[in-house]
Structures are given as C-alpha cells and as structure tokens.
C-alpha cells in the first residue's frame, strides 16, 4: 500500500443495518416512523468501542442491540501459549483502569490451583494495591460519569487525584498503570522505603478531593434530574442477568466477595459495604463514591498493620523464582530459576475457579491445567461482559439522551468485556 499518498479515499456506500427484524417492523408500523440509529463504535459517550444498534420512535428508544467484539484480542487463546508469569501483562490490559486488581485476581487463581500458601506481608501488599486500584478506577468512573452528564470539572479534579496515584504506582512497580506487579507465588518486589508514608499522605488528603467532587455533583439539580430514576435495574433482573459489583449492590443485593468469600486476608480489615435501594444511575454513583471512602479506610488499616516478612512464598520451589543474589551464587537456585523461566511455574493438573471483587464487578478466572507451566484453558469471566448483557432489556423505554448516563453509570470497560 502506498503510504505516502493520502488522496485515496474509500468510496463508502450506505450499509444495511440489520437489527433483528427491525427493517420489517419499521415497514409494518403504520403509526410513526421508527428510525434506526447506529451509535457506532467510535463515539464519545461509549466507554471504549461499543456499538449500539438502536431503533427510535422520535426520542424514545424502542429497541437496543449492543454489538461487541471490536476490542477482541484473543487473550484466552494467547493464554494457552504463554507460561503463567508471561500472561500477567495481559491481565493488566483487561480492566485497564485497575490493572493491579486484575494482576492479583489472576495470581490468586493460579496459586489456588497450585495449593500455595502466601505469607501475611504478601497478602497485605496485595490488599493494599487492590484497594488503591479500586480508588483509581472509581475516581475515573465517576469523573467520566460527570463528563457524560455534561460536567467537565469533576473529570479534571478526579484526574488530578489519579495522577498522584499514578506517581505512587510508578514508584512501586515501574509503570504508571499496566503494572504487571504480581507473580505466581508473590509480588514482583517489596515495597520501597518510605512508600507507605506517601500512600498514607495521599489517602489523608483524598477525602477533601472527594468532597469537592461531591459538592459539584451529588446535590446538583441538573445531575439529579439526569440520573434519578434513570436506568433502574430491579433486584431480580440484576441477579438473573449475572450482574456483579457496584451495579448489583445498587439494586439492593448484598453480595461483596470481599466479605462473603474473603481472600488474601480481607477478613482482617473492618469496612462497610454500601448497598443501594432503587438501582438507578444515581444509586450506582453514590455507591461508588462511598466505596472510595471505604477503600480509604481499608488502606489506612493495612498501612497501620503491615506485617514484616517476605513478599513471596518461600517454599514454592517450582513456582516462584528465587531472589537474584541466590540465583547468581548457588547452583540449585540457578537451576530452579532456569526451569521456572523456560518452562513456567509448574502447576499440578486440575481445574479451579476464583473470583475477586474488582472495581467493575467480580472478575473470575476459570483455569484448567494438565500439568506443566502453561495453562490448558483459561477462561476470563469479565464483569463488564455480564454487566452489559442487561442493556438490551434496560435501555428501551428511555430517551436518547439517557444513553450516555446509563452507560456511564454501568461503568464498564471494553478491554475486559471483549478480552
């Protein structure tokens, strides 16, 4: 293809949009015309590349069919060709707003199958980074939600806070986001000196920033009008469609995996789980703001009680690479390192399923292993995929301008939806 010539233009023709039998229906309807609208994959209001094929009656939406797959990268097939540790960067890019939480969920799944027990410090570090990732994800979610409803300032405020978080992540892991911090059997490196006091300073200042965002949105007349009573999901619908996370809790279902099936030492920390009543967009917004406040509490508790010790499982001989000083000096560790890097962490045969409470919902990994260092099958149960399946039922009956608010409140990420 001649890349230098820019005059070649594709002659585009009108494509026929098939929304089930919309064409036939529209023709059959005598009263009013139904308009087919394509809220195409590239659109400012969709959080990522989601396509909505909609049928409108004036401004009222009568039918909505989401089309996914525009970011399908083949993660599950890639997982069958990578060792367990090599797959960690791909988990970063699933929910790319809270990469550390994905790292932790994946590592715990593999460790569950391998039957590893982790030291307390490692678990506490994982809880700490998971909660910081939750703060980061909710801050962005609510900033962009405000932007969808028309308010630019909360976006700027929350991004300023997120930049502070990025600096902390960068000091810990080396990357602003896409951290790839966990390894099977531990975390990549210990906490740097003085890092925890920086985190403490950050969470001490964060409530003021959240208050500023709340001042702008929570009692704002326009925001209330746009979000209250919009996108109401009933309790039965939420469970029937497999919703998890803040979306499910907003509808009144008390399911938080950190409390119901605690992992990585979550049972040691005291925190509340906000539950909504009506299940509309406003409830989902309030729950996320409150979850940030609860995460701040958890972070403070973890910092106050951070145990000493190792940040990896020492007895995981065939799974976790030994520290570099030993590798360079001792023969046994050298062989161990070689085996783990070339063949991958040796995980016994079997299957397991583990779900973690990610900011978007319950991120689950179903792992089938036939022995060796490479998974046989890895299924990623993405919360956004399940959360979006309710759109077909939820959206009809709303106005066109409610679409942005509904999508913003569901807070999904196409990276994990399409994998």
């Amino acid at each position: 293809m001649d890349r230098g010539v820019r005059e070649t233009i594709v002659s585009t023709t009108v494509k026929e949009v098939q929304i089930g039998d919309v064409g036939a229906q529209a023709a059959a309807h005598a009263d009013g015309e139904r308009m087919s609208l394509n809220v195409g994959p590239s659109h400012p209001t969709t959080h990522g590349v989601l396509r909505l094929l909609m049928e409108l009656d004036g401004d009222l939406i009568t039918r909505c069919e989401p089309v996914l797959g525009y970011l399908h990268r083949g993660d599950e097939k890639i997982a069958e060709n990578m060792t367990y540790n090599q797959f960690v960067p791909y988990t970063d890019r699933l929910d790319y707003l809270a990469p550390l939480a994905n790292n932790v969920a994946y590592a715990i799944t593999v460790e569950k199958l391998a039957g590893l027990k982790l030291p307390e410090r490692c678990e506490a570090i994982r809880v700490l980074v998971c909660e910081m990732a939750r703060i980061s994800s909710h801050l962005l979610g609510m900033g962009v939600f405000g932007m969808d409803a028309g308010a630019w300032t909360p976006f700027m405020y929350t991004f300023t806070e997120r930049e502070k978080l990025y600096t902390l992540f960068e000091e810990l892991t080396g990357a602003r986001f896409t951290t790839s911090y966990t390894r099977i059997g531990g975390v990549a490196r210990d906490l740097p000196e003085g890092w925890m006091s920086k985190v403490e300073k950050f969470v001490d200042e964060l409530p003021k920033a959240i208050d500023e965002v709340e001042k702008l949105l929570t009692r704002n007349r326009i925001f209330l009008d746009r979000t209250e009573g919009i996108g109401t999901i009933s309790k039965e619908d939420a469970i029937a469609y497999g919703l998890t996370g803040p979306n499910l809790r907003a509808s009144g279902v008390d399911l938080d995996l950190r409390k119901d099936k605690p992992y990585s030492g979550y049972e040691k920390y005291e925190f509340d789980v906000p539950i909504g009543t009506k299940g509309d967009c406003y409830d989902r917004y309030l729950i996320r703001i409150e979850e940030v406040r609860q995460s701040i509490l958890i972070v403070k508790q973890v910092i106050a009680s951070m145990p000493g010790g190792l940040w990896y499982a020492e007895d995981a001989k065939k799974i976790f690479a030994p520290p570099k000083e030993k590798v360079m000096t001792s023969m046994e560790e050298l062989i161990q390192n070689f085996m783990i890097v070339t063949e991958g962490p040796q995980v016994p045969a079997g299957e397991t399923y583990f779900e973690a409470e990610n900011p978007k919902g319950a991120l689950g990994f179903y792992l089938v292993s036939k022995g060796g260092g490479v998974p046989y099958r890895l299924k990623i149960r993405a919360p956004s995929f399940c959360n979006l399946s309710i759109l077909e039922k939820l959206v009809p009956g709303h106005m066109l301008s409610d679409i942005t608010v509904i999508l913003g409140s569901l807070d999904f990420v196409m990276g994990e939806c399409d994998r």
Binding site: M1, T8, I9, V10, S11, T12, T13, G20, L68, G69, H72, G74, E76, K77, I78, E80, N81, M82, T83, K112, I239, A240, Y241, G242, T244, V253, D254, L255, D260, K261, T342, E343, G344, Q346, G350, E351, T352, Y353, F354, E355, A362, G364, Y366, V368, K370, G371, G372, G373, V374, Y376, R377, K379, R381, F385, C386, L388, S389, K393, D418, R419
Partner: protein, 205 residues
C-alpha cells in the same frame, strides 16, 4: 451449607448427575438432556440463582468427548459455587440445550461459546457470533486453530479493496516458545509450537 447431606439430597433420584470432585467447589457431571430441568431445580429450590460463568473446554481431537461445557452457579445463601460439566454428545457438530430461558445471563455467554468453539445451543433466541464478525469462518479457541490465525478476507470488502489489507496470520517469528511440560528435560524444553514460520519463510505444509 454444601456438605455431604446436601450432596446426597441433590443426587437422590437424579441419576443424570454424578459428582466429579469436590476439590475447590462441588463439581457435578450432568447429562445434556436433563440440563434445563436441573438448572431450574438449582435456581428455584437450591438458591443457586446467579449464573456466574458459562464456557467450554476443548479436550483435543483425540479425546472421546471433545467439547465440554462448564457452568458455574453461585448461591447467595450458601455463599458457594457449584460447577456443572456437560459433555457434548457429538464431536463433529456439538450441541446442547440452551439455558437462557432459565438464566437470562446465559444468553451472551452461550453466544460467546458458540463463537469460540462452534458449540450450538438449541432454542437460543439469537445464536450468532458476538466477539468475531458474523462471517468469520473459523472457531478460534478450538485446539487445531493456530494462534496466529488463518488468512481470510477483511470483513469490509470496500476497505479491503482500497487499502489492500486483509486478515493475515500474525507473524509469530518462530514463536511462541512453549515447553511441553512432560517428559525429560531435553524434550520438555520450550520449542516453537506449530507457528514455525516467519515473515520471510513460508509456513511448512
């Protein structure tokens, strides 16, 4: 509580169910014809009303029962999971009944399983591809499908005509290098899987 009494009561009178193992959660083998009825029982009587995941595993072309559909259900009362393994009867054109009438969440999961494996779900309201484009001819997660992909024309013909692009197999450059995991170390060393070709040298036949 998922204890022995619970399991015994669940199995009683249902010979289409058998316990496979209870390593990390209760795993049951279920026959495809009784799947819908058993799911209804689990949802209504045993409080497993949250369908967490529905997927499939391809056990390879040599296996007796190649495709196995795996369901995970969660109960908010018992606070635990139940896993169902459903073996597809036919290896060539696998098909099992759809449970989207019992769990609406299964709708998209079944579409994805069809997209990736080619397993048809009978009575599904809208069984078409969800992650790949509608005309894609292959099922990517089957074991014989290479990671790099197989060459097919780009889904939009006019764009392909102008730009000259099409769906090419990704250049693997001899990789991915994956160890087989079994056998002696010299044999178990990582070596290139079937993608033993690069942009310069053609794929060997």
């Amino acid at each position: 509580m998922i204890d022995d009494d619970f399991v015994k009561a669940l199995l009683e009178g249902r010979d289409f169910i058998s316990v496979k193992h209870r390593d990390d959660c209760l795993t049951l083998d279920c026959l495809p014809d009784s799947l819908i009825g058993f799911c209804k029982h689990l949802r209504d009587d045993q409080t497993f009303d949250l369908l967490v995941d529905l997927t499939a595993v391809d056990h390879g072309e040599e296996a007796d029962s190649r495709f196995q559909v795996v369901l995970h259900l969660y109960s908010l009362i018992h606070k635990s999971y139940v896993r169902l393994h459903v073996a597809c009867p036919d290896n060539q054109s696998p098909s099992i009944p759809s449970i989207s009438s019992v769990f609406p969440a299964a709708n998209w999961h079944e579409r994805e399983t069809f997209d990736m494996f080619g397993i048809k779900f009978s009575d599904h309201p809208n069984l078409k591809r969800i992650l790949m484009w509608d005309d894609y001819p292959y099922f990517p997660l089957r074991k014989e499908f290479p990671l790099a992909g197989i060459e097919v024309p780009l889904p939009a013909a006019d764009v392909a005509e102008v730009t000259g692009a099409d769906v090419d197999p990704a250049p693997m450059m001899g990789g991915p290098f994956v160890a087989s995991g079994n056998g002696r170390m010299s044999e178990a060393e990582p070596r290139a899987k079937d993608e033993s070709w690069t942009e310069e040298s053609e794929k060997p036949l």
